[in-house]
């Protein structure tokens, strides 16, 4: 038997996600809707002797879609053949904005959906001075009303008890204006099985993507024949509903003084202050980057130490041979290179999710819109851009709540410039190599350098947007409207789930690629195309017969690497990377990074372990990648491979180049266009090459 499907529907900021977490506990997963990468949260609840499939829909104010997110909601709720089509819809509301939620509830019911009505955030009833006559509301909505507080878990049991509820039909809350009656009658003939309101929805939307082409055309013909304006129809519906619901609620809801909005207002006076607001925002950003760099230090040191111990242990306990070598220098080194950066990724996601939960994020949108508009972006671009500081993949997806198609495209095109956590490992390693660990005015200089790299990402994003803004033509006029929710202390359950989802997702996705590439690299480094690789010992002995045993082994190893597949590939691309100040070993790192940037560090670990694996037992310190890279000599110049000039050049290259297959794939999906994906990849990588070239040639 199919599991009963339960869907959570509601406005943004009503605590829907907290409720979802309460219902499903940790029994949930985050995936994508088929075909498009809109985040889908679904989970299982076992109760009432059965198991329910629970889906948390993206927050929406109305069933008329304004953005991709909202289109998903309409597509699921309007299509009985959709696999997520609910057996029961839970409309989630909060006390203050209950009217908006009732309008959404009416829309859902008139599509033909059975629904119950949940008033969440009951704790706010008192502080917001609201009284609701539940019995009257229940008879108005013709369904069960459940009061919950998802944060404390109050009311959840009562909610679970009514999940099998089958409320009677609820229709005719919308009096269709007489001037629309005739077109509506015509449209009804096209959809004999649909409810009247569903037909109205079809008619009042500019384009209903899920309908067959001929139905879309027929709807368009009706709209043209009667000169219907979809915007106007939606506004008319909104007005009628507002009026009738207000009238109906006048006896049901009593409002008194409101303590909480006073509190929010006084906080906003500071956080939205024309000067102080910006100082605090940039101060917070600076704090985040200092935190990423300095708080994570001890954790990273212990992870580093742990992997050094694992390596030493495996080396001592396993027999020598190619498989042991693959395990230690391919797999363990590669995984270690990524696990070490988890603390930083967690810190970044913690801050982002904290800002989202408290309601501060939309204040940032408010503060930044004015400054992003000239670049062709929108205040809402702040969220993709800031999430881009974690990972471009969810960030590009976050752009879907931008209503204007052009602003959305621009945001997606420039978001990958933002310094994502995959760049962090590379920046940290290179900054540690070329910037001294001193402090200026109490600030860690390496932290400042990292901050500069983040600024560079932002500048790259904005300037590119400015250029692209001139090129792309706009179809629709731009507008912006968003809610600033009241401040709340964060629901730590949400923060923790969010941080866990994002960082484990990153670790698994990146881990898969790194594991694969580490193995490929190991194979390429341990086999060669000709006998020079296999006869290395004899050739070296012949050339320099007087070497000590130790020197001989080292010479053989480096001769072997030079003549392995990996060595030949690295040398093959050397002419292209030499002007940027890199040698062939760094070239290998660069190539492997085109799969994903974070691979660089893992690759370097593999490349350099092969380079001097004889030394590994000698000195425990040499185990760490950093000291290995520090002592590395550039084969072309004879200078340290990671000096100031080549370091800056590498930093610039990684700052701008599009080196992430997953991002390319997501951009392709979200833009639906190979053209824009290709333009983006070429633009970014070209810019990276030129910037790195200029920097190295000036600094060397």
């Amino acid at each position: 038997m199919k599991k009963p499907a339960i869907i959570l529907l509601g406005n943004p900021n009503v605590g829907k996600t907290s409720l979802f977490n309460r219902l499903t506990k940790l029994n949930q997963k985050v995936g994508n809707y088929p075909g498009i990468t809109v985040e889908k949260r679904e989970g299982t609840l076992i109760a009432n002797q059965k198991s329910y499939h629970i889906v948390d829909l993206p927050g929406t104010y109305t069933l008329f879609p304004n953005s991709l997110d909202e289109e998903i909601v309409f597509n699921i709720l309007s299509d009985k053949s959709n696999e997520l089509y609910p057996d029961l819809t839970i409309v989630v509301a909060e006390p203050a904005s209950i009217k908006r939620s009732i309008i959404l509830y009416q829309q859902a019911r008139e599509l033909g959906l059975p629904a119950i009505f949940v008033i969440n955030m009951m704790d706010e009833m008192d502080s917001k001075g609201i009284e609701i006559d539940e019995d009257q509301l229940s008879s108005l909505l013709k369904t069960k009303i459940i009061k919950t507080n998802a944060r404390t878990g109050k009311g959840i049991k009562e909610l679970i008890a009514v999940l099998d509820e089958k409320p009677a039909g609820y229709f005719n809350s919308l009096e269709i204006p007489s001037n629309y009656k005739e077109p509506l009658e015509e449209a009804k003939k096209l959809f004999p099985l649909a409810t009247e309101y569903l037909t109205w929805q079809y008619l009042a939307q500019e384009n209903v993507g899920i309908l067959p082409i001929e139905k879309q055309q027929a709807l368009l013909d009706i709209r043209n024949k009667f000169k219907l304006n979809t915007h106007q129809m939606q506004k008319d519906e909104s007005l009628i509903r507002h009026e009738s619901v207000s009238f109906a609620l006048s006896n049901i809801i009593q409002k008194k003084s409101n303590k909480q909005s006073n509190k929010t207002n006084s906080i906003d006076k500071i956080l939205l202050h024309p000067i102080l607001g910006y100082i605090l925002f940039f101060g917070l950003l600076f704090l985040i980057f200092q935190a990423i760099f300095s708080w994570s230090g001890p954790l990273m040191d212990s992870i580093d130490g742990l992997f050094a111990e694992i390596t030493a242990f495996l080396d001592a306990s396993l027999p020598d041979g190619p498989l042991t070598s693959l395990l230690i220098y391919g797999i363990v080194a590669g995984i270690g290179g990524i696990v070490i950066f988890i603390p930083q990724i967690v810190i970044l996601f913690l801050f982002l999710s904290f800002m989202e939960e408290t309601g501060y994020m939309s204040r940032v949108v408010f503060l930044m819109d004015r400054w992003l508009k000239p670049f062709g972006l929108n205040g809402k671009s702040v969220i993709p851009l800031m999430s881009g500081a974690a990972c471009a993949i969810p960030a590009v997806m976050a752009a879907r709540n931008i209503e204007n198609p052009k602003e959305r495209l621009l945001t997606m095109l420039v978001t990958p410039f933002m310094t994502c956590s995959a760049r962090l490992p590379i920046y940290i390693v290179i900054i540690a190599l070329i910037i001294p660990e001193d402090t200026i005015l109490g600030f860690n200089m390496q932290g400042i350098a990292l901050f500069v790299m983040y600024i560079l990402g932002i500048v790259g994003a904005l300037l590119s947007s400015l250029i692209l803004n001139k090129v792309i033509k706009s179809v629709r006029s731009s507008f912006l409207i968003f809610e600033l929710p009241t401040y709340k202390s964060p629901d730590w359950k949400n923060v923790i789930t969010n941080v866990w989802d994002k960082s484990s997702g990153f670790l698994i996705e990146a881990g898969k690629i790194i594991l694969m590439i580490s193995i490929i690299l190991w194979v390429l480094g341990n086999f060669g195309p000709n006998n020079k690789f296999y006869d290395a010992q004899e050739i070296v002995e012949q050339q320099s017969p007087n070497l000590t045993e130790e020197d001989l082994a080292q010479e053989v190893a480096s001769y072997q690497l030079e003549h392995s597949f990996l060595g030949y590939i690295g040398m093959g691309i050397e002419p292209f990377v030499r002007p940027l100040g890199y040698d062939w070993k760094m070239g290998i790192g660069l190539i492997s990074s085109f799969a994903a940037r974070e691979v660089f560090v893992g690759t370097m670990a593999v490349v350099y372990s092969i380079g001097d694996d004889v030394d590994l037992d000698d000195d425990g310190q040499k185990n760490t990648l950093l000291s290995k890279m520090k002592s590395e000599i550039n084969a072309n110049t004879g200078k340290p491979a990671y000096n100031f000039a080549s370091g800056i050049s590498l930093l610039l290259f990684y700052a701008f180049a599009m080196q992430c297959m997953a991002t390319i794939a997501v951009v392709r999906k979200e833009t639906g266009s190979w053209k824009w994906t290709a333009i983006q990849t070429l633009f970014m990588t070209g810019l990276a090459y030129v910037a790195a070239l200029i920097a190295y040639q000036l600094l060397k």
């Binding site: 104010y61 203050a96 304006n229 906003d268 819109d369 507008f479 912006l480 409207i481 809610e483």
Partner: protein, 80 residues
């Protein structure tokens, strides 16, 4: 004393009733979030250099921000 004004001209703290919205370009989302004829709003915050303005929709007691360019198209009358 002027009794009518578009929303972008208002000062912080002024309370007005929306009369009409002068553009078919403005999407229905504005209506849904509380900018419809008859709705009473109070200006709460303004971002500097002609940035967005934030209004309190009195009926639902929610804070909604819009750009000045759209605020200019919304006509309102002062209420005492």
């Amino acid at each position: 004393m002027q009794y009518n004004s578009s929303l972008d001209q208002l000062k912080i703290g002024e309370i007005v009733k929306i009369n009409e919205i002068q553009s078919t370009e403005i999407p229905a989302k504005f209506f849904e979030l509380g900018f419809y004829p008859g709705s009473i709003v109070e200006v709460k915050h303004k971002a500097p250099f002609n940035g967005p303005i934030c209004l309190n929709i009195l009926e639902s007691n929610t804070l909604i921000a819009i750009r000045k360019s759209e605020a200019k198209l919304i006509q309102a009358e002062y209420i005492k």
